[in-house]
Amino acid sequence: MKVLAALSGGVDSAVAAARCVDAGHDVTAVHLALSQTPEARRSGARGCCSLEDSRDARRVADSLGIPYYVWDIAERFTEEVIDDFIAEYAAGRTPNPCLRCNERIKFAAVLERALALGFDAVCTGHYASIRQADDGAWELHRAVDPAKDQSYVLAVLTQEQLAHCMFPLGDSTKEQVRAEALARGLQVASKPDSHDICFIPDGDTKAWLSARIGVRAGDIRDAESGEVIGEHDGAHAYTVGQRRGLGLDVSAPDRARRYVVGVDTASNTVLVGPPTLLDVDAIAADRAVWCGPFPSVGEAVSAQVRAHGEVLPARLTSVDGERAAAVTVTLTEPLRGVAPGQALVLYAGSRVIGSATITRSWREQR
């Protein structure tokens, strides 16, 4: 097959591409330039976007003896991922930009262009597995390494996309991948993992957002009494479930710690309360994308609401709309701190059923 291997400059995509070459595919490497003003060198532990990463990616391609090109997707990335990230926070929601990038950029714009240019598949260094069922349907599964499993951020892939994706690292642990990179003599073998959000260089999301959304003082209210107990400088900077950074000098009467339990950007109000207010057992979500067949009401699934978060048994209580776009689930035990905007990803065992964007969560049983 003619395969386009996306190389970030990190160790995972390097080994994925190498395995693709070994498998006998005709591989071409592409580095996705996401930043309109790339830094010369990596700052901190970012794993993309700098000229240094681009150079590392090129070195890997040269080592593997495959052609290397850079695709400039900075404009699309800014529009679809960064602008959306800002807008979501400004609306008081908590988006996942990696998921968004996979949905709109990597496995949409890039995959479409690859297919148009005559490639059969796109290969990445994501930790997840694609399997083909007996009936020919494509299935997305968790990776064997639970610490690295990235099926959560890939839960936006449809059958058509899965048919043209290759994730060669799904059956390996990070340690194995690093060891393999070393054995293959790839220079990126010991490069640190990337984490945090690639377009926020210093990892300070709050400051980054404030610089773009603006600072606007507002009230911090007690969710139970309604009393104003503090001030904040922009509701957008708060996420449901957050405890640190509230700057409250009045401790609760019962001396309990207080958490953000609600964010209302329209009135610029942050609601705080005891952690019990954060416990929910029902979640509604929309804009669902299903990797395979739509789920049905009553189906027992497991639910996950953040990358590497807890996995809880759940049951679908409603499935509505065209292409089953809106769902609600109930959890068998309560989950703490679910913010609107987060992705609800549903699994059947290790198989990803699909994902939807959380609109609301509440407590049904006490």
Binding site: T28, H31, A33, P38, L51, S54, R58, P67, Y68, Y69, V70, W71, D72, I73, A74, E75, R76, E79, A109, V110, E112, R113, A116, L117, G118
Partner: protein
């Protein structure tokens, strides 16, 4: 079946001539720093000075005019920064610079750096749709800012579209005001006679690897009486204008390649111009809507096309996979193809600028290269058009 590679990117770099390679390898076996006073040093010094004389002779310059550098970029930087600082030191009012909008980044970027770091005011000299500088615009700039100009920079021929520039007219316009003119002659010296002393230029940049010499050596030609400040400091080699141990093997190879190129220039240029016509015909046959950019007054070696609805980097990748090697012609940031500043200056929109390819020929080009292009281009254009310019929006 693996295709036979067709190399159509001689403007990026061209193969070393066998004679230059022999001169270089022979000299690499010798010991001696040309600045040393002992026998080995004297021997190396002789190699460098002979090379200097051959280069000067090939380009209508005096040996003293030739300042060896690490290549064209360093020569351009030395001219731009060195002329500006020397002229401003002589008269603090001279803080304005005129440079054509289609200069290579080796000129463009140091000029921009003068504005960003040293308070210079830049006037980008406009070009017409063919990519030739607008002499009326130059006259207007000379009229308005003549007393404030540190220097004027106009390349001899553009590296992307191949358009030749009216450098002698530029020099004639600047001469009465005593304004030095720098010309990046990197692309043209292989293809047309160049008489530095007769040109009236203050400085000219050349490089070895575009004329069949090695990478890593070039020269700035500096006219007598022109004040220039050094930009590197050290051993003071090259008349205290450029420091660094002289590279005798590279200088010998540079001189050999340049002398050979200049001696064979008329025949070579005629042969390559005929090949270019075949290339242009082949592209038109394969992609009837492709637009040839530039004008008739161009280098014999360069043909630059826009392919409507295609992205240049997609075409490049598809042609590369089919064994045909060419260039988008524009500079890269992290390998990201930027819309060419040359095409934008020529009045093209960003999509057209991004949808362009440069094919460039050299001494080793043959009709087989054109045949390979004719073979590969139709499928590449069809695919690239399907892929469109989706990523660019």
């Amino acid at each position: 079946m693996a295709p036979v590679p067709a190399y159509l990117d001689h403007a990026a770099t061209t193969p070393m001539s066998p004679a230059a390679l022999a001169a270089m390898t022979a000299e690499l076996a010798e010991v001696g720093n040309p600045s040393s006073l002992h026998a080995a040093g004297r021997r190396a010094r002789k190699v460098v000075e002979q090379a200097r004389e051959h280069i000067a002779h090939a380009l209508g310059a005096q040996p003293v005019d030739v300042i060896f550098t690490s290549g064209g970029t360093e020569a351009d930087n030395l001219a731009v920064l060195g002329l500006y600082r020397a002229r401003r030191a002589a008269d603090p009012a001279r803080t304005h610079v005129v440079a054509s909008a289609i200069e290579h980044h080796a000129v463009l970027d140091p000029v921009q750096a003068l504005a960003d770091r040293e308070g210079a005011t830049i006037h980008w000299l406009a070009v017409n749709r063919c990519g030739q500088v607008d002499l009326e615009h130059l006259q207007a700039l000379l009229r308005d800012h003549g007393q404030q100009l540190a220097f004027v920079a106009v390349m001899s021929a553009n590296n992307e579209v191949g358009t030749r520039q009216p450098v002698s007219d530029v020099v004639a316009a600047c001469a009465p005001l005593g304004i030095p003119v720098h010309s990046d002659a990197v692309q043209s010296v292989a293809w047309e006679p160049f008489n530095f002393r007769a040109s009236g230029l203050a400085t000219a940049a050349i490089t070895a690897h575009k004329v069949g010499g090695p990478h890593g050596i070039g020269a700035l030609l500096l006219a007598r009486g022109v004040a220039l400040e050094p930009i590197t400091f050290g051993g003071g080699q090259e008349a205290k204008l450029r420091s660094g141990t002289l590279d005798a093997p590279a200088a010998a190879a540079f001189a050999t390649a340049l002398a050979e190129t200049v001696a064979q220039q008329p025949e070579r240029a005629a042969r390559v111009r005929a090949l270019r016509e075949q290339l242009v015909a082949a592209v038109r046959e394969c992609a009837p809507d492709a637009v040839l950019n530039g004008c008739d007054d161009c280098l014999p070696s360069v043909a630059h096309f826009s392919f409507p609805g295609c992205e240049g980097d997609a075409l490049l990748m598809l042609l590369d996979a089919a064994g045909v090697q060419c260039s988008t012609g524009s500079a890269c940031t992290a390998g990201v193809p930027e819309p060419s500043h040359v095409m934008l200056a020529m009045g093209r929109d960003r999509a057209t600028a991004r949808g362009s390819l440069r094919f460039s020929l050299g001494a080793t080009s043959s009709a087989a290269d054109i045949d390979a292009l004719r073979e590969a281009l139709p499928a590449a254009v069809t695919r690239a058009r399907q892929a469109g310019q989706a990523l660019a929006r």
